[in-house]
Symmetry: C2
Subunit: 284 residues, 2 copies
Amino acid sequence: MGQTPPVVGWSIPRNAEADTLRKANVLPPESNVDLMSEIEVPEDHPRYESLLTRHRIEEGVDKGITSRQGLIAEGRGEAFDYLLGERTIESAERAERAAAAQLLLADHPVVSVNGNVAALVAAETVDLAEAVAAEIEVNLFNRTAERMDAIAAHLQEHGADAVKGLTADGRIPNLSHERAKVDADGIGAADVVVVPLEDGDRAEALGAMGKTEIVIDLNPLSRSAQTAAIPIVDNIIRAVPNMTAHARELESADRETLEGIVDEFDAEAALAAAEAAIREGELQ
Amino acid sequence: MGQTPPVVGWSIPRNAEADTLRKANVLPPESNVDLMSEIEVPEDHPRYESLLTRHRIEEGVDKGITSRQGLIAEGRGEAFDYLLGERTIESAERAERAAAAQLLLADHPVVSVNGNVAALVAAETVDLAEAVAAEIEVNLFNRTAERMDAIAAHLQEHGADAVKGLTADGRIPNLSHERAKVDADGIGAADVVVVPLEDGDRAEALGAMGKTEIVIDLNPLSRSAQTAAIPIVDNIIRAVPNMTAHARELESADRETLEGIVDEFDAEAALAAAEAAIREGELQ
C-alpha cells in the first residue's frame, strides 16, 4: 500500500459538525488516539471505519479483552449500524452534545468500560474522560480477574492514568453478585454515568439508584436505550470522539448554557427518530 | 431444572405448518437431530431457540468450527432475526417449500456447509441432505485444513456418511485461489446448490456458473440473497428443518407439481416481503 496517503490524527468522526470541530482544532493535538500505528488505510477509504473496527476487535480477542459474547454483540451492532446507514444521524448528534453538557455539569461523572468498549475506543474513552474530568471504571458482564486486568492494562497503554473497577467494594442493589460489583468511590458514588453497550438489567438497576445515565446503544428499543436519560443511538466508534469534540467546544460555556442544552434534549423523540431512521433509511 | 419436561425429538420449526407436518410424522423418527443430549430447556420456553443457538455456537467455538468472523456473523443474524420478530414469515415459508421442490427436481443437488452452518444445524443439514438425496460439501470463507477437518468430523458425528470439500480439485471461476476451491464432483458438478450464510462474491460467482442457488440469509438486501434463484430470509435454525419437512411432504409428488411450486415462487416478491417485515414489524 506504498502509495496510499498516511493516516494521521484522531479524526474518526465523519459527520459535518465533527469535521468543523476538527478544523477548528477543538479536538486537541495531544489526544490519546494514534491511528498511525493501527491500519494503513486512508481515512477516506469507503470501508475505513469498518476495517478499523475489525482490526481493533481482532486485537481485543488476541489480548483477552473481547469475549465470545462480545464478538456476537459486535455483529448485532454491525447489523443495526448498517440499517442506520453507518452514519451519525442528527438526533444522535444532538444526544452526543447533550451528553457532553451533562458530563460537564456533573459533580462526579464516571465512564463505564466493558470489553468491547476497551477494544473499540480505548484512547477515545481516555480522551473523553479527560475532556469532562470523568473517572474510568471497568465493569464486565462476565467478570473474571484476567479480563479485568487485561482491560485495565489496555486502557493504561492508551493513556489512562487511573482505572477503577478492580476494588469492587460497592454493590448495585437488585443484581446478582458478580453483576452487582462496582467501586464504592467510582460508579457507586457517581451522579452521572456513561454506560456504552450496557446490559439492560444493569442499566435499569443503575437508573433505579438515581444515577443519570448516558447510554450508547445501536438498538433504540433495547432496555438500556429506553432506560437512559440520554440515549445515544450511534456506533461507539463515532459517538465517543463526537462527545469529546462537543465537550471541548463547550468547555468554557456557563452552567446556564449547559443546562439549556440538557433540558432541550428529548430522549423519547431521539429514540423515535433513530427507530424511524432504521425503518425508513436507504439500505445499501 | 428437575421439573421441566424433557426435550424430545427433532422439532425445531415452530410455525403452524411445520407443527402440522410434525404431528403427521412427515419428519421421520430416525432424524439425526437429537436435542435430548443438548440443552435441558423445554421447547416451549420463550428463549428456547436462542438458548439452543447460543449453546451450539459455544460448542462450535470449543470444537474449532466457529471462527471469530463466524461469531460476528452470528450477531448480525441475531439483529436481523430480532427485527423480523424471530419467526418464519409467510414468504420465507413459501421459499422453503419452493427450495424443497427445487432440490427434489435436481439431478445433482449439493448443500454447502461453512463453520456456522455446521455449528448451528449439523444434524438438521444431514436430515435435509437425506430427504432430497443431496451431497454435503464443506466450503469455508477462511479455509484452513484444521477447520475443514473439524467441520467434516462434526458433520459425521451428526450422521453424515460422506462429506465433500476436502479434495478441492475444482475451481469456481473469477474468485481468488482459496475462495475458489470446490470438489469437481461436488459443487463443481452440481445443478442446484444450497448456500446458507454465503459470502456475496461466492454467491455471485456460483450464479455466474449457471447453478441454481438456494440462499439462506437473514439480510434480504445482501448480495447473496439478491443473487439467489430462491432466497430464504429466515434463521437457518428454523429454515433447514422446515425445508426438510416440506421435502418429506413432497416426496411422492410428481414432477409437474414440483415444477409448479418452483414456478409460482417469486424471488423479488419474497425479498420485498422480508424487507417490509423488517421495516414494519413490531419490535419487541
